[in-house]
């Protein structure tokens, strides 16, 4: 009788033997398995990350260090057990050398047992909860972490005369990360949190929460919401006259997602956000990226998710170059540690200790240029580490 346990053991065994078999092959191709939510509520994340990855391959060719890169894209419909099943299939049947993608934190966490056993790197290109990279030594992150984006917003708020702030976040992992770290930084610098509001993830109407914020009469409201919901929020924020009541909107960049910013229209103008990437970032690398991305994807504007995919792919290419084409998991992950390069978002480094990304966080304001809305950067916090890890290691 095949019990569940023995089945798992058997498939794990298969995974190991598949792995053991890899060096024996004459390896001419390196397979990259991309697991993304391509359908369901987070499909836009998947779409952007995949587009970023494909743009990278279009710009830099599909051969590196004598190996041909083959991309396998699978849809997990943002269900964690699917992500894990697909990861297992990709490792066992397809023999992929690197996994990548992962639209949400639980999806990224679901593959930890698979990559631990198969000993292959998983490049987290989107999910942003700080703790992911601590769950396995094979995670590397090319996106960002929410504490990383929230702390500079807190610093900026405290330094720019905001005294009383209400926080409003979605009630799940990243939201709580954002709230915790913003509050920590802002109160340490002398600010006061008047009220902390958590909104259910599936929340249709912000009216009551916004009214509460208005009645608390703060100097500003700090917001983290996933991008689609964020755009609804912006409209209702403007509609309720909070801006006229003198309440400033400060947020992480998810709320003014480049992908949706133009549709938000006038209400978004003047919003102050802190994030690692804006399509309006002024550098030759970014100009080339935005141009290549738009022409290949029907005028779609790259957002912060896409750049996670782009840089994730660069990370894989650069690691392969460094190992001279050795695509075994251990070699790749070692090569990835400490890599640094100039991405479309600016200079970035993979922290050799934590395998997390170190990057600039930019303060931006939504402005109109050539009839389109952009997040225009006006201040930079350089080489920001994930504060959760910096604190843990006593730095």
């Amino acid at each position: 009788m095949i019990t569940r346990r023995s089945f798992v053991a058997a498939s794990a065994g298969l995974a190991m033997s598949a792995l053991a078999a890899i060096p024996g092959h004459a390896q001419e191709t390196v397979k990259v398995g991309l697991i993304l939510p391509m359908t369901g509520p987070f499909a836009s994340t998947g779409r952007q990350v995949e587009a970023g990855v494909r743009t990278y391959m279009a710009m830099h060719g599909d051969t590196v260090a004598g190996k041909k890169i083959e991309l396998v894209v699978r849809d997990d419909a943002s269900t964690a057990d699917q992500t894990r099943r697909i990861a297992q299939e990709l490792v066992v049947n397809e023999g992929v050398n690197v996994l990548g993608g992962f639209g949400l934190t639980p999806l990224a966490l679901a593959v930890a047992p698979v990559i631990n056993q198969a000993k292959i790197p998983a490049v987290v290109m989107a999910a942003a909860t700080s703790s992911i990279t601590e769950q396995s030594d094979y995670y590397v992150r090319s996106s960002f972490t929410l504490p990383q984006a929230s702390v500079p917003v807190g610093t900026w708020a405290a330094e720019n005369g905001l005294k009383r702030v209400v926080t409003l976040v979605s009630d799940y992992g990243p939201g709580i990360d954002a709230e915790t770290w913003f509050t920590k930084e802002f109160t340490a610098k002398g600010g006061e949190i008047v009220e902390a509001v958590r909104v259910p993830l599936q929340n249709p109407d912000f009216a009551p929460y916004l009214q509460r914020v208005r009645d608390a009469d703060p100097d500003a409201i700090f917001v983290f919401l996933p991008s689609g919901v964020g755009s609804l929020f912006m409209k209702q924020f403007a509609d309720r006259g909070l801006a006229e009541a003198g309440i400033k909107l400060i947020a992480t960049g998810d709320v003014t997602d480049d992908d949706l910013l133009n549709d938000m229209g006038q209400p978004a103008l003047g919003a102050i956000t802190g994030h690692h990437y804006s399509a309006a970032h002024d550098s030759p690398e970014n100009k080339a990226y935005v141009e290549a991305f738009k022409s290949a994807h029907n005028g779609m504007r790259p957002n912060f998710m896409s750049v996670g995919g782009y840089d994730g792919m660069h990370l894989i290419y650069a690691a392969l170059e460094k190992t001279g084409g050795d695509a075994t998991g251990e070699a790749l992950i070692e090569a990835m540690k400490g890599l640094s390069w100039t991405s479309p978002r600016g200079p970035i480094t993979i922290d050799p200790q934590t395998r997390d990304i170190v990057q600039n966080i930019y303060m931006r304001e939504v402005k109109e240029a050539d009839g389109e809305l952009y997040n225009v950067e006006f201040a930079t916090y350089e080489a920001v580490k994930d504060p959760a890890k910096a604190e843990a290691s006593g730095q």
Partner: protein, 286 residues
């Protein structure tokens, strides 16, 4: 305080417009149509496409959404729903849930998974002070439209010939047929009308509830709560239930933000314990 009450009323009104069609099919025609939200979504997307791609005015979009979705409802009624009127409820549920998933996938394929946004005409944006209460203009507009609809619906059902034909057809279809009432035509018209209302609700709700392919699944619970709490035997029941839920939801989230999302479920449980057949059900007084 009064602002919260007003927001609650507006939210309840919006729920009512969308859910009333379900109350009609479920209560009057005894058909469990879980795909009702899909009709609302269709109305929303029609508005988005017309406004954003063709620049049609918002006010014009509302009747168009109503008519197109009503036509769609009539088409589906004639081809699919009609076969299931006499089927057991479980079959109806399975069928209509299947329809929901198909609609979600179809919309995803055609329009993409992202949140759709519309731009209201400027006179509906912002807020106005009325007797010292700040009210959103768009919410005021929703409330007005809904009030007109409630009165009109009640009049149609209670006073017109069609209303009495419909009530007769529901009470006893065979006798009604014997009296020369074209029962299937009456049902088709009613179904189309209910779908049209859902479409109108979806079009008006796009601004407040948001619009993405998962709309029918996300809001199914809300519609069902409105209909179960309200009972299905009259227009007044769902109307008051929608108001109650809207106010409870908004006030709960305002006063107790930590548990705000659960307040409406609490209200639903209490209502169903007290009046298991709905607020104004005929059997409810037992």
């Amino acid at each position: 305080m009064l602002t919260i009450l007003f927001d609650g009323v507006a939210y309840g009104m919006l729920l009512f417009i969308i859910a009333v069609g379900l109350a009609i099919t479920l209560g009057l025609m005894n058909f469990i149509n879980l795909a009702h939200g899909a009709f609302a979504m269709a109305g929303g997307y029609i508005t988005v496409v017309l406004m954003n791609r063709y620049g049609v005015s918002f006010y014009l979009c509302l009747p168009i959404a109503f008519l197109v979705v009503a036509a769609l409802g009539a088409l589906l009624e004639g081809t699919l729903y009609r076969r299931l009127y006499s089927a057991p409820h479980l079959d109806q549920v399975l069928f209509s849930v299947g329809l929901v998933f198909m609609s979600v996938a179809a919309v995803h394929y055609l329009m993409g998974g992202q949140q759709q946004l519309i731009h209201l005409p400027p006179e509906l944006n912002g807020r106005t002070e009325i007797f010292g209460i700040g009210v959103g203009r768009y919410r005021l507009f929703i409330t007005a439209v809904c009030a007109v609809l409630v009165v009109a619906l009640q009049l149609v059902l209670a006073k017109t010939r069609f209303g009495s034909q419909l009530r007769a057809a529901v009470d006893d279809g065979r006798v009604a047929r014997g009296l020369g009432i074209n029962v299937s035509a009456v049902f088709a018209l009613t179904f189309a009308f209910g779908s049209g209302l859902a479409g109108l609700g979806g079009a008006m709700g796009a601004e407040i509830l948001g619009l993405d392919p998962n709309f029918p699944l996300k809001f199914m619970v809300y519609f069902l709560i409105v209909v179960t709490v309200g009972g299905t035997s009259s227009m007044t029941g769902p109307f008051l239930a929608a108001l109650l839920l809207g106010i409870a939801d908004v006030a709960g989230k305002y006063y107790f933000p930590q548990i705000g999302a659960f307040v409406i479920y609490g209200v639903m449980v209490i209502m169903l314990v007290l009046r298991p057949h709905g607020l104004f059900s005929r059997e409810g007084a037992r």
